[in-house]
Symmetry: none
C-alpha cells in the first residue's frame, strides 16, 4: 500500500513536470526533484522515463473511455440530445479535472514516439467508430441527413476536440457571452472555466443543425417557439 502510494506520488510529480515542460524537455532529474525522491527510487517504481509517461497516458485514456457512454437511440430525439450533452460534458469534466495531462494528450503526445502515437490513434479511432455507428443508425432512423459518414465523423470529432482544447486553455471564456442573443445567465465559477455548459450547448447545437434532417429541425424550432 505504501508502495502504491509512492508510485502515485511519482506519477503526480511526473504529470506536473511533463505538462509544464513537455515530454522531451523533461528529464528524470526534473521528475525526481519534483517528487522529492532519489534517482534510484524512481527506477524502483518505473523502468524508464518512457514508462511513466505511458502510464499517465494509459490512465487518462481509460478515464476518457469511461466517460464516453454509448448512446441509447430508442429514447427519442430529445433523449439523444441529452445523452450527447452528457457525454461531452463528462469528457470535458475529465479534461478539466486533469488539466496537466490534457495539455499533453491533446497536443504533444502525437509525434513523441511510435508507441504513444499508436495509443492515441487507437483511442481516437474508438471515438470515431462510435460516432460513425451513431451516424449510421441515425440515417436508418431517418433523423440524420444523407452524408459521408467517415468524413463527417471526423468533422464532428474535430469540432469537439478543438473547442475542448480551447476551453481548457482558457481561450473560450465567458466574455463572448454577449455575442449570443437570448442567452440565459451563465453560472460562472467552476475552476474549469466559466460557463462550460453553455459552450457544450453551442457545440451540440452546431452539430445537430449540421447533421439532422431539416424536417426534424423545423419541428424542433416550432416546438421551441411554442404554439
Amino acid at each position: 500500500m505504501l508502495r502504491e502510494h509512492r508510485r502515485r506520488e511519482i506519477l503526480r510529480a511526473a504529470r506536473q513536470v511533463f505538462s509544464a515542460n513537455g515530454y522531451h524537455a523533461t528529464g528524470v532529474a526534473d521528475i525526481i526533484a519534483q517528487a522529492g525522491v532519489a534517482r534510484g527510487t524512481f527506477y524502483l517504481y518505473f523502468t524508464s522515463k518512457r514508462e511513466v509517461f505511458e502510464t499517465l497516458l494509459d490512465e487518462f485514456l481509460d478515464l476518457l473511455r469511461e466517460r464516453v457512454h454509448r448512446i441509447d437511440e430508442t429514447v427519442g430525439l430529445e433523449g439523444i440530445q441529452v445523452q450527447l450533452r452528457d457525454n461531452v460534458t463528462r469528457v470535458l469534466g475529465a479534461f478539466a479535472e486533469n488539466p496537466e495531462l490534457s495539455r499533453i494528450i491533446l497536443n504533444e503526445a502525437v509525434g513523441l514516439d511510435k508507441g504513444f502515437d499508436d495509443k492515441l490513434s487507437e483511442f481516437y479511432q474508438g471515438l470515431l467508430d462510435l460516432i460513425e455507428q451513431s451516424l449510421a443508425l441515425g440515417r436508418q432512423m431517418g433523423i440524420v441527413r444523407p452524408l459521408d459518414i467517415r468524413v463527417i465523423a471526423a468533422a464532428i470529432l474535430g469540432s469537439v476536440k478543438e473547442v475542448v482544447q480551447r476551453v481548457l486553455h482558457g481561450r473560450l471564456d465567458a466574455h463572448g457571452a454577449g455575442d449570443r442573443a437570448g442567452d440565459r445567465p451563465s453560472r460562472e465559477g467552476a475552476r474549469t472555466g466559466p460557463d462550460v455548459s453553455r459552450v457544450v450547448d453551442e457545440v451540440l447545437e452546431y452539430n445537430i443543425r449540421a447533421l439532422f434532417v431539416p424536417e426534424l429541425l423545423d419541428q424542433r424550432s416550432r416546438r421551441d417557439r411554442g404554439p
Copy 2:
C-alpha cells in the same frame, strides 16, 4: 545567389528528414547527410537546428496564410459558398504539396518548444479571427444564425483541421463513397488521396448547415430540387 542556393538545399534536406523522423529524432547529422554538406557548413547557414526548423515552419505558415483569402461577402450566398470552397481547397492543396511538413505542423510541432508553439498559436489565432469576422458579418447580413461566435469559430476550425489531417494521412479515402446517396463518380488519382473535392464539399455542407439561418437553407434546397 550561390549562397542562397546552398541554404535552400539544406532546408530541403531538413524538411525531408524532419518529417521522416520528427523533430527530436532528427539530428544535425541526419540533415547534413541528406544535404550532402559538412557539419561546419550547416552552421554557416543556420545558427542551430532549431533555427532550421523555425524557418521551415515560418515558410509553411506563410504559404498557408497566402492560401486563405478573405471572403467577399457582397457576392451573394452562392458566391460565398464558392469562396469558402476555394479557400479550403487551396489550403488542402498547400498541405498536399508539402506532405512532409504537414505531418509535423499538424501534429508534432505543438509541444516541441515554446517558440514553435507560439508561432502555431498565432497562426491559428489568425485563422480564428478571420472566421470570427466572417461569422459576425454573416450575422449582420442575416445569413448566419445566432450563435456564440468564438465557440463556433473554434468548432469550424476544428472540423476542418481534423478532416484535413485525416485526408493527408490517407485515412479518409474514397471507400466511403458509397455511403453517400447520389454521389457523382469520384475522380481519383491525385497522389494526395482520392476525391479530395468531395471531402471538401462534405465539410462545407456540414458547416453551412450548422451555421446558416434555416430560411436560407430552405431556399437552397428548394432551388436544388428545381422548380
Copy 3:
C-alpha cells in the same frame, strides 16, 4: 549456531551465482535471490559483496592447501612418485568437488581486484616454494638432474595447472586414450570427467622424465620391462 547456518546459506548461494556469471556480472541482487534472504540480511552477515567472494576464495585456498601434502623423500623413488601422484589427485579432487569455485579461481580471480590477486599469488607462491624445496632436495639426493630450480618449478606448476583446468572444463576427455600404446582400460564414471587417473599419470610421467637424472630413468625402464 543459527547465525552460522544463515551465513553458510548465503555463501553457498554466492558460490553458485558467482561461478555461473562471474564476479562482476553477479550482483548482490543475484546472491540474495538465490539465498532467499532480504537485501538487508545480506549485509548483516557480510560487509560487502567483496567480502563474500574473499571468504569463498579463502576457504577454497585453504582446502587446496590441505590437500597438498609435503613429500617424504626418505621412502625411495617409487614412494616419492606415489606421493606426488596422491597430491595431484587430491588437488584435482578438490577442484572436482567445487567445480563452481574452480572456474573462478583458475581463471577470473586474477585481475579482479588487488586483494584477490594477492591472495592467489600468495597461494601459488606457497606451492612454488614447496616444489622448489622438493627440487633442491632431489638435487642433493642425486635423483634430480641439474636445473634452474625457480624456472623449472614454474614450469611444473604451469603444466599441472593447465591440465587441471582443461580436465575441469571437460576438454581433456577420454577420447585421446587410443593415442597411448599399452594403456590399461580407463575406469570411467566420476562426474569429474572420465579417466582422471590416467591424466594424472600422464602429467606425472611427463614431469618425472623432465626432471630425473637419466640413470634413474634407465633403471626404471629396465625394471618395467622385467629381468
Copy 4:
C-alpha cells in the same frame, strides 16, 4: 592518416589504464584522461569501451600468431630444437614488448566477457593444435615417446605459459643463476628481464627431456660430452 594517429593514441592510453587497473576498474573517463582527449572524441573512434579492449586483444593475439612459426621437422633433431627455441623466444619477445597487454591477456581477459573468452580460447586452441600436430609427427618419426597427445600438449602449453608469465612479472630474475651448476654468466640488463635466453633454454630442456625417446636423449648427451 591523422585520424589513424589519434586512434592509436587512444589505443595506447587505453592499454596503459586497462593494464594498470584492469578492465572493469577502468572507465572511459580514465582512458580519455590518459589520452588527453574529450569524452566525445573517444566515441568518435570507438563505439564502446568494449570495442577498444577487443581491438587491443585482437591486435595482440595477431602479433602472437605471427611469432609462432610452424616447425619444419625435416631438418633433424638439432634443427627442430633451434626452431622451438626461436618460437618461444619470439613469443616471449612479443610479451616483453607489450608488458601492459600481457598482464591482461595472460590473466584477466578470461572471465571478463563471453566474447573475450572465446577469442582467447580460440587462440590457445590454435596453439594446442600446433603442439598436438608436432607431437603426432614426432611420434611417427620415432623421436617422441608414446604419450597422450592431448594431455601432454596441455602440459607443454601450461609450462610455457607459466614461465612466460613469471618472467614478465619479474619473478624469475637472474638471482637464481647460482642454482645451476656450470652456468655461463648471465648478460643482465635488458628491461625485459634478465637472461631471458637462459630461461628459454631451461624450459626447452625441460620439455625435450619430457618428450623425447630415451635413445635420442642418450645420443645427445654423449655428443655433448664429446668423443
